[in-house]
Amino acid sequence: MEFALSAELERELDAIIARYPNRMAACIPALHLCQRANGDWVSPAVVDYVAKRLDLPAAHVEGLVTFYSLFNQERPGEHQVWVCRTLSCALRGADTLLAHCEKKLGVKVGGTTGDRRVTLRTAECLASCGTAPMIQVDQEYHENLTIAELDRILDRLLYED
């Protein structure tokens, strides 16, 4: 499958490229932009597209995709839930939150629900330790979480549009 950006996103990418003294520096921002435009994952077609657009070897772009954990090499569910499991959150009950997510979603960490609505992940410290425990849902933080609140959040993800 070919991949292409809309004219508007092409202009956005041009503006990003202009911020740097060379094209390679635009590679990570370009991957972010394309990943978003591609339903949240970097397909082989996206890699080819970014490589051509920035005049880089595809292997270089591939190397970035495998190094950085936030480039998805497979299409995730419609929503992504990250449970912070690092120490400050662990001291405030992250394990319980994670177990609750696994049970309610019926998947293990890394898995996606059968209806492809939610992918469950763990995160390392998300700079929110003073409001632990916390999870990130897509781009949003939910802090000082209780199980009841977590339940409501997961319900929304699972059953509402």
Partner: protein, 448 residues
């Protein structure tokens, strides 16, 4: 006595305090306006007098770092602001970006001018979407008024400020890994020398500063370097000014508190943090991000031959003012100044296992001792927690960690070794219990 201040945090509780109008109402951008009319050397001199120790973890003197930038060098110069905030336990830079983004931009303008840079990149961790949005909006506001752009405050020295997003890798907080990442490469640390001031971003002179270091610069200019330094209880230790103190884990009121440098852990945990959660006893504190050695609550300060330490000698480590050199002298580390508190409900063995999972996951893999060592440590700890490790394996933990120390390209290796070395030594009995009882003797929980 606690000396709470509100230079960085005054906008935090103001509705829409992140907007330019609110920032200017409380005096914002006046320091930049003044500083951009001053010769470079004068600004660097003020920052040196401020004894501003880098807020990113290593505590290097900011003014001294700036003075390493070449003066008569035709190459482009860069300022790179490190907002990759990923050190476990640390949550201060995110708060500044979300609640006071204009302080970052004003500080960046002053710093860029002082170092002869036309371009500033703020490297923000990708997950911090709200922080990035607030910074972008603030840059747009500042650009609309001409503060950022071709002629900031009418001066013929263009300064552009850009937000650059990371993509999920703790190691990119290390400054040379960050530069590789900024250049569009894998975030693998570089060998030093050359140092960034000679050969940094795109091979050109570059200074990397932590975001909080940059955000406090307008205050340094506003007060003057010496007056800023004297706000600190550790002025005599060349550790000046005010900073954000974070506290998380087992305290009643976790959060961020801006105070003069020199606050004690007792003040942070009991007065500001409201004491230990659930009426438990304090077991231990990791003072500033997980890469710092853990301190036991019952540790004492013993420093001979330095008269500045006389008031603290023989006292609890909880009463030692928190500073870069005070903690270094007792064999600890201040790091990011965001403390993680463990009550006696927490099992130190599980705490270390949780941390070492992080380090194994985040090692970039370039150096064998770090890549393999972090993996071995994690596996031994897993066995220990499962009650299947031997005494020899327990001792191997210390050996492996010692072999990592000093044998790697970047300081991640030392950062991974420190928790192991300190936890195993200071909680030897708890670790041995896991071996002797097959893992059955502990509370086996982390939650208070």
């Amino acid at each position: 006595m606690i000396n709470r201040t509100s230079y960085l945090t005054r906008s935090f509780d103001v509705p829409e305090g992140y907007l330019l109008a609110a920032y200017e109402r409380s005096g914002g951008y006046r320091s930049a306006q003044r500083a951009l009319g001053m010769p470079r050397e004068i600004i660097v001199d003020q920052v040196k007098k401020a004894h501003l120790r880098g807020r990113g973890g290593a505590g290097f003197d900011c003014g001294v770092k700036w003075s390493f930038m070449p003066k008569d060098d035709a190459r482009p110069h860069y300022l790179v602001v490190n907002a990759d905030e990923g050190e476990p336990g640390t949550f201060k830079d995110r708060a500044i970006m979300e609640k006071n983004p204009h302080a970052v931009i004003e500080g960046a303008l002053i710093a860029a001018h002082a170092m002869g840079a036309h371009t500033v990149y703020i490297y923000v961790r990708d997950e911090l979407h709200m922080a990035k949005a607030r910074l972008e909006a603030a840059i747009a506001e500042a650009r609309a008024l001409g503060y950022v752009g071709e002629r900031p405050f009418g001066r013929p020295w263009a300064i552009q400020v850009f937000v650059h997003s990371g993509a999920g890798a703790y190691i990119c907080g290390e400054e040379t890994a960050l530069l590789n990442s900024l250049e569009g490469r894998r975030g693998e640390p570089r060998l030093k020398p050359p140092f960034p001031a000679q050969c940094g971003a795109f091979g050109d002179p570059t200074t990397v500063n932590n975001l909080e270091t940059i955000a406090i610069i307008p205050t340094v200019i506003e007060l003057g370097g010496d007056a800023f330094s004297r706000l600190s209880a550790l002025h005599d230790f060349n550790d000046g000014g005010v900073r954000l103190f974070g506290v998380s884990g087992h305290v009643q009121r976790p959060g961020l508190y801006e105070c003069a440098v020199g606050l004690t852990l007792r003040e942070l945990i009991y007065d500001l943090g409201g004491g230990v959660l659930g009426d438990r006893k304090l077991l231990a504190v990791i003072p500033g991000g997980s890469s710092c050695p853990v301190l036991r609550a019952d540790e004492m300060v013993h420093v001979l031959g330095d008269p500045r330490f006389a008031p603290y000698d023989g006292k609890s480590v909880l009463d030692l003012p928190l500073g870069v050199d005070t903690l270094r002298t007792i064999g600890g580390m201040l790091g990011t100044c965001c403390a993680i508190v463990l009550s006696d409900a927490a099992d130190p063995v599980l705490a270390l296992a949780t941390l070492m999972h992080f380090y194994r996951h985040e090692s970039c893999g370039q150096c064998t001792p770090c890549r393999e060592g972090c993996g071995w440590i994690e596996r031994i700890l897993d066995k220990l927690v499962a009650g299947r490790a031997s005494m020899e394996e327990l001792d191997r933990l210390t050996e492996i960690a010692s072999d990592i120390t000093g044998n790697t390209i970047c300081a991640f290796g030392d950062g991974a070794a420190q928790p192991v070395l300190s936890f195993v030594r200071k909680f030897r009995r708890e670790f041995e219990d896991y071996v002797l009882t097959g893992g059955r003797s502990q509370t086996r929980t982390l939650v208070a």
